[in-house]
Amino acid sequence: MMKMAVTVRALEVVRGGIPVLRGLDFGVASGEVTGLLGPSGCGKSTLMRTLVGVQRVTSGEVEVLGAPAGAASLRREIGYVSQQPSVYDDLTVTENLRFFARILGVGDERVAECLALVALDGHAHRIVGRLSGGERSRVSLAVALLGEPRLLVLDEPTVGLDPVLRVELWDTFHRLADDGAAVLVSSHVMDEASRCDRLLLMREGRLIADGTPSGLLDRTRAEDIEHAFLSLVRNEEAA
């Protein structure tokens, strides 16, 4: 049986008086790449923040690696890439990674490994603020990989990347999953869906589908995930 890294029950989150997550139940398995897809504003980032433990929860249960989300024991176990790159623009790539490595208590040799994983070894000594948007977001990704986390939460890590690099990063995600990590990746680009082992489709704070890409295509008789999503939305509205 698959080991669940994340179990969410009846999760509700209200932000600024508006219900953003409206009753979610799902799990994220270890050893898989799970895609979180849905239109802009549907609550993907809010959900990811909740799993990482930085978002206040209104009601419901969120269990991560056997502990409630936000527990102190989880701070070493989760790698999180927020949607906007959270790194220091006035430091070099290596200085950024070394700093976070010291906070995590991992050695400097891990810094070079993580730079290679995101294909930034050539930019090690450049100031982050002078990198391109895609390069910057890869620095942020490298920071999340430092601690060899058991759960990786990646909020749109492939935005602004060229197709070659995107394929490479997805390969990296799968390698990390093969090594046993649970990888949750959000995207609003539906064509990335086929690269996931499992998909969570979200709309307006609710999950409208949870399954394998092929299972979803079969069920909706659609030719791609984009059409599957549209047909699920139509069914929901008709119901």
């Binding site: 936000g70 220091y88 006035d90 010291r102 906070i103």
Partner: protein, 249 residues
């Protein structure tokens, strides 16, 4: 529970802040040169006047400068850390809140030490400021004073959404302290109410300490003032720790 304080993490934060500062040549130059320039202007102002204007006001200015500068620098840097998401990232990592706060205090305390060493050096060597007490004590006061500015800056950055707002805390929290610290009107000559208020403000003690080192050199009284300023700094850091929330709405 993660440890409240890990020396390696505190050190990492301090080193990082200093590296960021080192990258910013213009800020660094201003931090080190401006206090010396301001002291020189003060000396020049009183040069042709009778009386001891420079000796009276110089020590007070030496207390004001590190406090004001570190307050501003810290509130803007931490605000930037909040808006860029790096603070949230750090709080999601095994980093104690105290590591963050003390890292900043350490880094800016160190900058203040260098800054005031230069300013005091200029005053004593070039501008003939007479100091009755030990000169190094001026620097101790300056460093404690800078840490106080840093602590307050960390605290108020939690209440600012933008850099504009952060800078507005300067007239709100700093200028009243400058007005009431005894620089313009001796504190015991202030109206009763203002005198009581001035006794509750940390900068009053910082200025007192500087003036005591300069005029009498009675170090016992200076240490009492320094201890009071330090107590305010610790309280400021504690309040700052309360504003660092691992979860937000």
């Amino acid at each position: 529970m993660s440890a409240l304080l890990t020396p390696s993490a505190t050190g990492a934060v301090a080193t990082r802040v200093l590296t960021q500062l080192r990258r910013d040549h213009r800020t660094l130059a201003m931090l080190l040169v401006l206090p010396c320039a301001l002291m020189s202007v003060l000396w020049w102002m009183f040069h042709d006047l009778p009386g001891e204007g420079f000796s009276r006001l110089g020590p007070a200015l030496l207390a004001l400068i590190p406090f004001i500068i570190m307050f501003l620098v810290t509130s803007v840097t931490t605000l930037r850390e909040r808006t860029s998401g790096t603070l949230e990232r750090l709080l999601a990592m095994p980093m104690g809140k105290l590591d963050f706060l003390l890292g900043y205090a350490l880094a800016f305390g160190l900058v203040a030490a260098v800054q005031s060493a230069l300013a005091v050096g200029v005053c004593v060597v070039l501008l003939d400021l007479s100091i009755a007490g030990p000169v190094w004590m001026l620097m101790v006061v300056a460093v404690v004073d800078a840490v106080l500015g840093t602590a307050l800056g960390l605290f108020v950055s939690a209440f600012a959404r933008t850099e504009f707002q952060a800078v507005q805390f300067m007239p709100a929290l700093v200028i009243p302290q400058i007005l009431l610290c005894g620089l313009f009107v001796p504190r015991d000559a202030l109206p009763r109410v203002l005198d009581v208020i001035s006794e509750a403000l940390p900068l009053s003690y910082a200025v007192d300490a500087m003036q005591r080192v300069a005029s009498s050199g009675r170090t016992g009284e200076v240490w009492t003032d320094v201890a009071l300023v330090a107590a305010y700094a610790v309280a400021g850091l504690a309040l700052g720790a309360l504003t660092l929330r691992r979860q937000s709405d």
